[in-house]
């Protein structure tokens, strides 16, 4: 700052001062493109590499280590034993399958609920109400995750409100289990699906629907051939949230899953005693997610995020 403050006009007869160090640096940066780029990108790239890529690499490396059976300290020698344990144990494979099925079911349910909701919010409701409806969809996000899950735990308990209401119709409560997990996860992640769907539907020109009607398309045909292609990228974008969030969840399962477990629980059980095994287990959702993202990239939805 000191060096760049405007100097007093040089008195006549005195030679012009040589440029200050800041000026020199500015000139050099102006001429040297790579240095400019490096200076600009250094911070975000350091963040990306240190916070995302290095831990991911460490995860994959740790998965190939083992532990000393007594102290639980990590032994840094390469071995594929962890993966062998996972792939030869039907219970673990079953857990992977269960986790993927739960995540997929939650995603489909969220999409099925978000479509009519998004449609109503962006097309049917009077424009005056639309911001309020959007705010209402978002309000659950302001409450803490744990509070919501504990609330569901109370609702779904054998003597809770769900059992009471079902009791009026002569039904018995399903209680805790995978069904409860799907229900609670759908509730938790629904806003992440409604938002992109709502945005896509709001952005869709009204004239498209009118044109379809003019050309004699029935509602279902209009939905399938006109609206769905427009909002498909939004659905896929929303599904990335619902799918990945469900894939990694383990607290909801602990609270309302009854005796059931998902992938995250196995990681949680093992990471203190056998970190490499937990790491190997944790690479599985990463692989599933990478596969999902590769498939999604082809739909063009990633540009819609």
């Amino acid at each position: 700052m000191v060096a760049t403050s405007p100097a007093a006009p040089a008195p006549p007869g005195v030679p012009a001062p040589s440029p200050g160090p800041v000026r020199v640096a500015q000139t050099w940066l102006h001429r040297t493109v790579w240095a400019r780029l490096a200076a600009l990108l250094a911070l975000p790239l350091t963040w990306l590499v240190l916070i995302y890529l290095v831990p991911l690499a460490l995860l994959f490396v740790t998965a190939l280590w083992s532990t000393d059976s007594f102290t639980g300290l990590v032994v840094r020698e390469l071995t594929f034993e962890n993966y062998r344990d996972i792939f030869t144990e039907p219970a673990f494979l079953l857990t992977v399958l269960r986790t993927v099925v739960v995540a997929a079911t939650v995603t489909v349910l969220c999409a099925l609920i978000a479509l009519p909701m998004g449609f109503f919010m962006s097309r049917v409701a009077s424009p005056r109400w639309r911001p309020l409806l959007l705010a209402l969809v978002l309000t659950p996000l302001w409450a803490a995750y744990l509070v919501k899950v504990y609330a569901w735990r109370t609702i779904l308990s054998p003597s809770g409100p769900a059992a009471d209401v079902l009791g009026w119709f002569g039904l018995s409560a399903p209680g805790y289990g995978l069904g409860a997990v799907v229900l609670v996860l759908t509730y938790l992640w629904l806003p992440y699906m409604v938002l992109p769907v709502h945005t896509a539907l709001s952005a869709m020109p009204e004239s498209l629907v009118d044109a379809a009607a003019d050309l004699g398309a029935r509602p279902w045909r209009t939905f399938r051939d006109v609206m769905l292609p427009v909002i498909w990228p939004a659905l896929v974008a929303g599904s990335i949230f619902t799918f990945s969030l469900s894939l990694g969840d383990y607290i909801t399962v602990q609270l309302v899953g009854g005796t059931r477990q998902m992938l995250g629980n196995v990681v949680y059980q093992n990471f203190s005693v056998n970190l490499p095994f937990a790491a190997a287990m944790a690479t599985l959702p990463v692989v599933v997610m990478v596969g999902y993202l590769l498939a999604v990239r082809r739909t063009g939805a990633l540009e819609n995020l």
Partner: protein
């Protein structure tokens, strides 16, 4: 200008590091006089030479729920604030739910003292995460029940690694409404023909395999189990088979006491294995949960307060150890958590005069069929040398497999 500031900060940073190193050095220096017999340095280095002087700093405490109450659970239940006022040490408390969690958290190096059960203490010692403790620097150690001192879970090769804190049995918890009289056996939690389908709640931790072993000791003596933490492959497989048999009976495996108490109160669970603390918390509003030690015996705990190897607040740590086993505080903790105190003098100071009687603190025979949590090792703990036993990491993996199926 900015360069000089950078230099100044670097200088400051390095001087802080130097200072920390110097302080660390003075803490561990000059311990030759109190060294352990034999000349070999014990695991985790030499104990603190003392004396325990004026202490300042922040003491990070890692504790079982109910062991380090600072008034946040119940304003009337607070023995952390008096400690802070008395010593000038600031205390942060972090609670954990299982021994695994304790070991994992302690490995981060963020905690100065920990209340370790027997299934964690030896892992901390052999992992060189804790330092030997000179019990002469803990005045209240003298009043601790002799049978809790120098036990395999707090002492290695004659070197003490902490002070005993209290003990208890993992009891059978039952809903009082359903059982006018306490059940006398664990059978309804294990047997295939139990009426409690989907109504029992076991502890969600690998160490629960020992509970299956305890039941097998009573019901299948042919297996020859002497110590539930010392199982050869055949005995271990039998325990796992029993846990598989239990699965249809399970409503949920519990991981925290609030959730467990809730389950018992709302009817999700009719019988559960757990701690007196759960019942005490659930019974704040009327008698909801009853407890009993069934005839087959039970697993249990005998906990030890341990000190981090390179703690910077060793004075605070020693004062904390002395504080929690002082007659008054140990009585408070024992009553709040629902366990037998370690300090003999505590029995005269409990609010409920019968507390020590209720928790059998002074009856040696009561503890004969309580098997304190211990870390299973490959070398059998019951003294067998003709076979190897299933080590703890395999317990964890077996538990994980069982829970995943």
């Amino acid at each position: 200008m900015s360069r000089t500031r950078l230099l100044r900060m670097a200088a400051l940073g390095s001087s802080v590091v130097l200072l920390a190193a110097a302080c660390g050095g003075s803490d561990s220096g000059g311990t030759d006089e109190t060294g352990a017999a034999g000349g070999d340095t014990p695991l985790g280095g030499e104990p603190y030479a003392g004396p325990v002087g004026d202490a300042t700093g922040t003491l990070n405490v890692l504790a079982w729920p109910g062991y380090a109450e600072d008034g946040s659970t119940d304003p009337a239940v607070d023995w952390v604030t008096p400690f802070e006022e008395e010593t000038g040490c600031e205390v942060n408390v972090k609670v954990f739910a299982t021994s695994n969690e304790a070991v994992q958290l302690f490995q981060t190096g963020q905690y100065d003292v920990v209340s370790a059960s027997g299934d964690a203490s030896l892992r901390l010692v052999y992992g060189e995460l804790v330092q030997p403790v000179d019990t002469d620097l803990v005045p209240n150690y003298a009043d601790i029940f002799p049978e809790l001192k120098d036990q395999p879970w707090n002492t290695v090769e004659g070197v003490n690694y902490g002070v005993p804190h209290g003990r208890g049995a993992n009891l059978l918890l039952y809903t009082a409404a359903e059982y006018p009289e306490a059940p006398t056996s664990w059978a309804d939690m294990w047997e295939a023909d139990s009426p409690l389908v989907g109504k029992v709640s076991p502890y969600d931790d690998a160490i629960y395999i020992a509970d299956a072993a305890v039941y097998l000791m009573a019901t299948q003596p042919d297996l020859g189990i002497e110590n539930p933490y010392s199982l050869d492959q055949e005995q271990f497989d039998a325990a796992i088979a029993l846990l598989e048999q239990q699965k249809p009976l399970v409503s949920e495996y519990w991981g925290d006491v609030v959730k467990q108490g809730q389950g018992l109160a709302n009817g999700t669970t009719l019988q559960s294995q757990g701690w007196q603390l759960t019942a005490n918390l659930a019974n704040a509003e009327g008698d909801v949960v009853g407890t009993t030690k069934p005839e087959e015996g039970a697993t249990g705990w005998s906990d030890t307060w341990m000190i981090k190897k390179d703690t910077e607040v060793v004075d605070c740590a020693y004062k904390w150890l002395d504080h929690v086993v002082s007659p008054e505080v140990n009585a408070q903790i024992a009553e709040w958590f629902g366990e037998a105190p370690a300090n003999q003098e505590s029995c005269a100071l409990t609010q409920n005069e019968d507390h020590c009687e209720l928790f059998h603190a002074e009856e040696t025979e009561y503890w004969d069929d309580v098997y304190y949590w211990t870390t299973p090792t490959e070398q059998c703990l019951d003294g067998r040398t003709d076979t190897t036993c299933v080590a703890y990491d395999e317990w964890v993996q077996a538990w994980s497999t069982l829970r995943s199926g």
